[in-house]
């Protein structure tokens, strides 16, 4: 497993645009536009000069004379993160994007294509630098936690050998354990457990009492470097599509205009949607989802788009702006494609072009194969 870490990605992006920004304290202005402008992110040189996030800008400029304060551009950062994902797809199908500039990918099984894992990792680093100009670090280990911490060590490429994960992790402070709740961190500190090595010998029952029975096994595996997570696919599966809209600035559900956006997507693909899930996130990060029922899926695009809009408005009951909307679609009638071709799916596939033409011709009517029932369910007979 390889952890890729592009440190300070927003600052690297800024420096790649303007070379004069290199080797000087930098900070991004808070995106919240408070009355008193304050710093949001500060780079390492800035932190070394005593700057901290949240510091008022005038005070920061007095503290560090050479400071350059930059306007934030979250859209660019998200695009860069997406670009990192695209880059990694060329190397492996399995992986996961983590924080900004951080990703975890599974390289096992790519040896026949790219050679030894360490060489592949090194080539990936070099290629990323050549293509995007981003300096990155890698951590290679069977354990995801060890790989992540190795990458954060920023020694270009660090390989943690199999069986050496626990020893590698032992001296690391526990606060570096990703996603450890502050309450647990405080409890471990009170028990005199400050490093991974302190927590590694704690028996599972004790750990379960300290945390909770569900969390304890995973936590134990992570601190001992025994975690081998199965990473999801970096790309969408064939026949699946994901369309996301970041709403900048966030807006009320009524102002999103979702029907138009959805119709655009539904119309652009002549196939019939098999599953449709609408997900959205409020401005405070609360996730919501709505799954279209079989009756909705068989309705024509115009009706379906309106139905999505209605469902969205009915579900968005919190008095908050919406920050992000995502439409997940699986195309094509019938069941999920399996490894071996289902004869009925094959039949459906052959029918799709004809159905697509008919749908274009009768956009306000449900055009379905004859064996699809009135309720929209595929008949099993």
């Amino acid at each position: 497993m390889l952890a890729m870490w592009v440190p300070e990605l927003p600052f690297q992006l800024a420096c790649s645009r303007d070379g004069a920004l290199r080797d000087r304290p930098l900070a991004f202005l808070s995106a919240e536009q408070p009355r008193t402008p304050s710093l949001w992110f500060v780079n390492r040189l800035g932190r070394a000069e005593g700057l901290v996030p949240g510091m008022p800008m005038d005070q920061a400029l007095r503290t560090a004379r050479g400071l350059r304060v930059l306007d934030p551009s979250p859209q660019v950062w998200w695009e860069a993160q997406a670009e990192l994902g695209t880059f990694l797809q060329a190397w492996t199908p399995q992986g996961q994007l983590l924080r900004l500039g951080e990703a975890l990918v599974e390289l096992q099984g790519t040896q026949r294509l790219f050679g030894p894992l360490a060489d592949t990792a090194e080539r990936m680093r070099r290629e990323l630098a050549a293509r995007n100009g981003w300096e990155s670090h890698g951590g290679l280990s069977l354990s995801a936690t060890a790989a992540q911490l190795a990458a954060h060590g920023e020694r270009h490429l660090e390989r943690v050998a199999e069986g050496a994960e626990a020893a590698f992790l032992a001296p690391q402070p526990l606060r570096r354990l990703p996603d450890l709740a502050p309450r647990l961190q405080e409890r471990f500190r009170r028990l005199g457990l400050r490093a991974f090595g302190d927590l590694q010998p704690v028996p599972l029952p004790v750990l379960a009492e300290l945390t909770n029975p569900k969390l304890a096994p995973d936590l134990r595996a992570r601190v001992r470097g025994e975690d081998r997570p199965r990473l999801p696919l970096l790309t969408e599966r064939p026949g699946h599509a994901r369309h996301g809209w970041r709403l900048q600035p966030p807006r009320l559900p009524e102002e999103v205009g979702l029907a138009v956006r959805c119709l655009d997507r539904l119309w652009s693909d002549p196939r019939h949607p098999r599953t449709l899930v609408l997900r959205w996130w409020d401005v405070d990060g609360e996730p919501h989802a709505w799954r279209a029922g079989p009756e909705d899926l068989t309705s024509p695009p115009l009706v379906l788009a309106r139905r999505i809009q209605q469902a969205f408005l009915a579900g968005a009951t919190r008095r908050l702006l919406v920050r992000e909307v995502e439409l997940r679609l699986a195309w094509g009638l019938g069941r999920e494609r399996a490894l071996f071709e289902d004869p009925r799916n094959a039949k459906l596939d052959r029918l799709e072009p004809a159905l697509a033409r008919l749908r274009r011709r009768f956009p306000d009517q449900a055009v379905l194969p004859g064996w699809v029932g009135r309720g929209g369910h595929l008949e099993t007979a």
Binding site: E32, Q33, P34, R35, T36, P56, Q59, E186, R187, R190, L191, G192, L193, R194, D198, P201, V202, P203, V206, E209, L210, P249, P250, L252, E254, E255, D282, V283, D284, L313, R319, L320, L321
Partner: protein, 978 residues
């Protein structure tokens, strides 16, 4: 004809505050307005505003405004019944009672736990003109044999024609809901706020065609233009105007079991017995005062009120209650004799007229403090004793303030919490509007709407202690409803002013933490408490000395830095001085405080500008201290009647004072000029009167509080360990617990940490020299588990060791962790290693685990995290070691007062234990701050430029690096923060 006015008391609908509604009605040409809200909560406010319109003219010395002469306000209310909307206009006392009963029954229907005897089911009231909002509603009414009329509107002309065709009565007074598009938008906003929905998805309840129009236009349109309708409408007005609500007559119940008795005689008998007990040798002045008060009380028919209060107090707490009668009621010798107050009003020279006069129209009330943890039981006992159908607490009317309005509007626009918090931070401490709240253009609309919403009625809450008992069923006088967020209690729908103006006499049953402090301390002291602790404390030299040197942290009411400094500056600790000082510390009175101090020390010659000053204010050296002083000065200088002066006194404490005060000022100046008072004297007097804006006290109130202060100070002077333990346990004070423990250490007391074998739930005194931290202070420890631990210890003796403790109790990991982190198990770890102890609950340290032991710094961190205090290391010392810097100490500030030249620059780490924000004359924010480190306290001032540079104010609990320069302010060392 008349109009029906919907005010902002129709929550979620109405857009007009009382004043605007009245002016709208008048501007449209109406002279009769009916209050047409859902309920009658807004009626007193409308009435008060109308009265003010007339009074303002009177204050200006102008004849009554012809525009408003003959303008009449009537009572009415809307309600829903069987799914239809109706309105009721009472035309008799019985109708008014029936309407109240209906409204109260509807309000209580959603709270089945509150059973009100005799309230019954909500039914349309008899004795009222009933107006149905639609034809189906009228039909439902007629089917039940009730008489009503259809409320006609041009928008529903067809319906009105149908009713007229069927021979049904139709009345068409205009309903004033809104006038402009902005008004309709405000209505939508209020609907969204009330329904907790976003504005964009909120539909207006009203149609744009329902906008109010001038009376002439209305009357020219159908249905009003129909003669039958006009006649019916006129008939309704005639009926409604024929009855008026009994407003202003005092409503007093008899004490329980004394109905029909000669209460004047009973009171006289009890007071005489009380005077004999209080004054073994009563002199002529006392007896004369007693007779004078009793005669006046009999004249005003107020004996039943005194007896009622005595009955309530005795029923709750027996013959020797732990109370503090305060407010103007404490000026009464009768109260003193009945045991309802603790200060001799004759010896203290308290003015009975502040409480009751022959001319007084609004009913006075009595404020009785109980220990804070006993107050709820007292209130419940009143409900139980007099019946839930006769008792209600008084409501508070909360109006939108800038911050709340901003929050409500922003939520209606879907803005997230993070933005709201940020905005709220900017708004905090503002004196004025919202225009500076944000730069984000997206907020423009929000700010505009929030500004418009400010001042509108928001919601009901409960008055801290105001309780009303009525002679008969409560609904005969007012509607009442379940109290919001308070179990087992009903409240009126009117606020304090409404209740008073109607004539209901309330009793304030309030909670006081210092009474609990004194109670707990006396319980421990037992026989060591002097026979008459109040008098003893007042004459005790050690207590007076303690107060004179301002060593009063923890002492009731005189512990704030401002009061302590005043005590130090004046250097007197007698009762009379303390009474003055506890009234003198007011936000606006600082300039006069300085003059008072100089005059009291003989540094400034006081030459009374007018002989009246000498006569009235000699004890406070010409400075107005008490509310009575305002009354006295207005009577003496401006020639006002006592009643008129009392109106000013009342206004000074009201939120709308700033708007109305100029009229009183003009009248005051006019009165003074007519009597030939010198302009300088008038200026001085009015300048002092202005300092009473916001809050101020009457002398009896201050004297009653000073009495509690003395008892509390006596405990501090003689039993400091017990004192601090009680103060912290009852959380009764101005400072956080850590500051009290700091003061305890400065009094040479040892502070001992929590201990599973020695601590109780509360803080306790161990002998006279040590305070033991109570387990209540340990955050994160579950109360039930800790109490079970204490019970087990009580039952089977102390725990031998930690294993014994864990074996005998069933502590959860969370509680064991919290207790251990706080140091409650330290006795089983002589080396102070709490880590090892923590593992005990988990079966010991597992093999292979080598936990890091706790050092003194870790212990201090753990103590701060679990108890908000430290035992070994002061948080300031901890910060100094960890973060470096700060070579000086807080105690160095005091050196400026002990011979060292002021002007020394100091840098030290300190804990903020008190902060007070004030505004400069230019409206900028500055702060008075009290810093503490292990060496002592330092008073400091941070001027606006410092706060501006610092970006955020000092807040209690912050550990901060302080840089400042020592100064001397009136010989007291003060650090000026740089």
């Amino acid at each position: 004809m008349f109009a029906l006015g919907v005010s902002d008391f129709s929550v979620g609908e109405g857009v007009y505050p009382a004043r605007q509604l009245l002016r709208l009605a008048r501007a449209l040409g109406y002279r009769d307005l009916v209050c047409w809200d859902r309920g009658v909560a807004g009626y007193p406010k409308l009435r008060a505003e109308l009265a003010w319109i007339h009074q303002a003219r009177e204050l200006e010395g102008l004849p009554p405004d012809p525009d408003w002469v003959g303008f009449r306000l009537h009572l009415g209310a809307r309600f829903a019944w069987r799914g239809h909307g109706y309105g009721a206009l009472p035309v008799s006392d019985a109708g008014y009672a029936a309407l109240n009963r209906l409204l109260s029954a509807q309000a209580h229907r959603e709270r089945p736990d509150l059973v009100i005897p005799g309230l019954g089911e909500p039914e349309p009231p008899g004795g009222c003109v009933l107006l149905a909002e639609d034809l189906a509603g009228l039909d439902a009414l007629l089917r039940e044999g009730l008489y009503g009329a259809l409320l006609g509107h041009p928008r529903r002309a067809r319906e009105a024609r149908k009713a007229l065709g069927a021979g049904l009565p139709v009345a068409a007074p205009q309903v004033l809901r809104f006038r402009t598009a902005e008004g309709l938008e405000m209505h939508r906003l209020k609907r969204a706020v009330a329904a907790q929905a976003t504005l964009i998805r909120t539909e207006a309840l009203w149609d744009p065609a329902e906008a109010a129009v001038p009376r002439g236009d209305w009357e020219a349109r159908f249905p009003f233009c129909e003669p039958a309708v006009a006649k019916a409408t006129a008939a309704v007005l005639e009926q409604v105007a024929g009855w008026s609500l009994h407003w202003g007559g005092w409503v007093l119940p008899d004490p329980l079991g004394r109905e029909g008795a000669d209460l004047d005689a009973l009171l006289r008998e009890r007071v005489r017995a009380g005077v004999a007990a209080r004054f073994p040798k009563a002199d002529g002045a006392v007896l004369a005062r007693m007779e004078q008060e009793l005669d006046l009380i009999a004249y005003k028919g107020f004996a039943r009120y005194f007896l009622l209060v005595q009955d309530i107090v005795r029923a709750a707490q027996g013959a020797t209650p732990r109370i503090c009668g305060r407010g103007s009621g404490a000026a009464s010798l009768v109260s003193y004799a009945l045991g309802l107050s603790n200060v001799d009003p004759v010896a203290t020279n308290l003015m009975f007229e502040r409480f009751l006069t022959k001319e007084r129209k609004d009913p006075p009330d009595m404020d009785i403090d109980f220990a804070w943890d006993e107050r709820d039981a007292v209130i419940q006992s009143v409900f139980a004793r007099y019946g839930r159908d006769r008792v209600a607490m008084v409501a508070n009317h909360a109006f939108f303030k800038p911050k709340g309005a901003l929050r409500a509007v922003a939520q209606a626009h879907g803005r997230p919490d993070s933005e709201l918090k940020q905005l709220a931070r900017f708004v905090r401490g503002w004196e004025g509007g919202l225009d500076r709240a944000a730069e984000n253009p997206a907020w423009d609309v929000i700010l505009r709407q929030a500004a418009a919403l400010t001042g509108h009625f928001h919601q009901f809450s409960v008055h801290p202690g105001g309780t009303v008992v009525t002679p008969g069923p409560f609904w005969e006088h007012a509607a009442f409803q379940p109290a919001p967020a308070k179990e087992g209690v009903s409240t009126t729908t009117w606020d304090k002013d409404g209740v008073e103006n109607y004539g209901l006499v309330k009793i304030d049953l309030l909670g006081n933490r210092s009474l609990a402090v004194i109670r707990d301390a006396y319980a421990v002291l037992g026989d060591r408490v002097p026979g008459d602790p109040g008098t003893h404390a007042r004459n005790d030299p050690a207590t007076r000395d303690l107060l004179a040197r301002g060593d009063s942290i923890g002492v009731f009411y005189v512990e704030s830095p401002a009061t302590r400094q005043l005590q130090q500056r004046v250097g007197k600790g007698d009762f009379e001085t303390l009474v003055i000082h506890s009234s003198l510390i007011r936000p606006a009175a600082y300039r006069w405080v300085d003059r008072y101090v100089k005059r009291s020390r003989g540094e400034e010659a006081w030459e009374p500008g007018d002989p009246v000053f000498n006569e009235l204010l000699s004890e406070s050296f010409g400075v107005l201290v008490y509310q009575e002083d305002v009354i006295k000065v207005c009577v003496a200088l401006a020639g006002w009647s006592h009643h008129d002066a009392d109106q000013l006194r009342k206004l000074l404490g009201k939120p709308d004072c700033e708007a109305k005060l100029p009229l009183f000022e003009a009248r005051f100046r006019r009165g003074c000029a007519e009597r030939g008072v010198r302009p300088a004297t008038v200026e001085e007097a009015w300048d002092m009167i202005r300092t009473f804006t916001g809050y101020s006290f009457c002398k009896p109130h201050s004297a009653s509080y000073a009495q509690v202060s003395f008892e509390s100070a006596w405990i501090k002077a003689h039993h400091p360990a017990l004192f601090f333990a009680s103060v912290i346990t009852n959380q009764g004070g101005y400072y956080p617990a850590i500051a009290y423990l700091g003061d305890a250490r400065r009094h040479r007391l040892v502070v001992r940490g929590p201990d599973a074998n020695a601590s109780a739930w509360a803080f306790t005194a161990e002998g006279e020299q040590a305070v033991r931290v109570g387990l209540l202070q340990v955050k994160g420890a579950r109360e039930a588990e800790v109490r079970a631990l204490l019970e087990e210890r009580e039952r089977h003796g102390p725990f031998a060791d930690l294993d014994d403790l864990l074996g005998r109790t069933a502590l959860s990991v969370t509680t064991a962790e919290a207790l251990c982190a706080a140091g409650a198990f330290d006795r089983w770890s002589p080396d102070g290693d709490r880590t090892r102890l923590m593992w005990a609950r988990l079966g010991g340290v597992p093999a292979g685990v080598r936990p890091r032991p706790t050092d003194p710094f870790d212990r201090a961190d753990l103590e701060m995290a679990t108890m908000d205090l430290t035992l070994e290391l002061h948080p300031a010392a901890l910060a100094r070691v960890r973060r470096g810097g700060g070579p000086d100490r807080a105690a160095d500030v005091a050196k400026a007062g002990a011979g060292e030249r002021p002007g020394r620059d100091l840098r030290f780490w300190a804990l903020v234990v008190a902060d007070k924000d004030v505004a400069t004359e230019q409206g900028q924010r500055m702060q008075f701050v009290t810093f503490e480190d292990e060496t002592g306290l330092a008073e400091a001032v941070a001027f606006p430029p410092v706060l501006k540079r610092r970006q955020r104010p000092f807040r209690v609990g912050d550990v901060v690096p302080v840089r400042g320069r020592t100064t001397l302010q009136d010989k007291l060392p003060v650090l000026e923060v740089l």
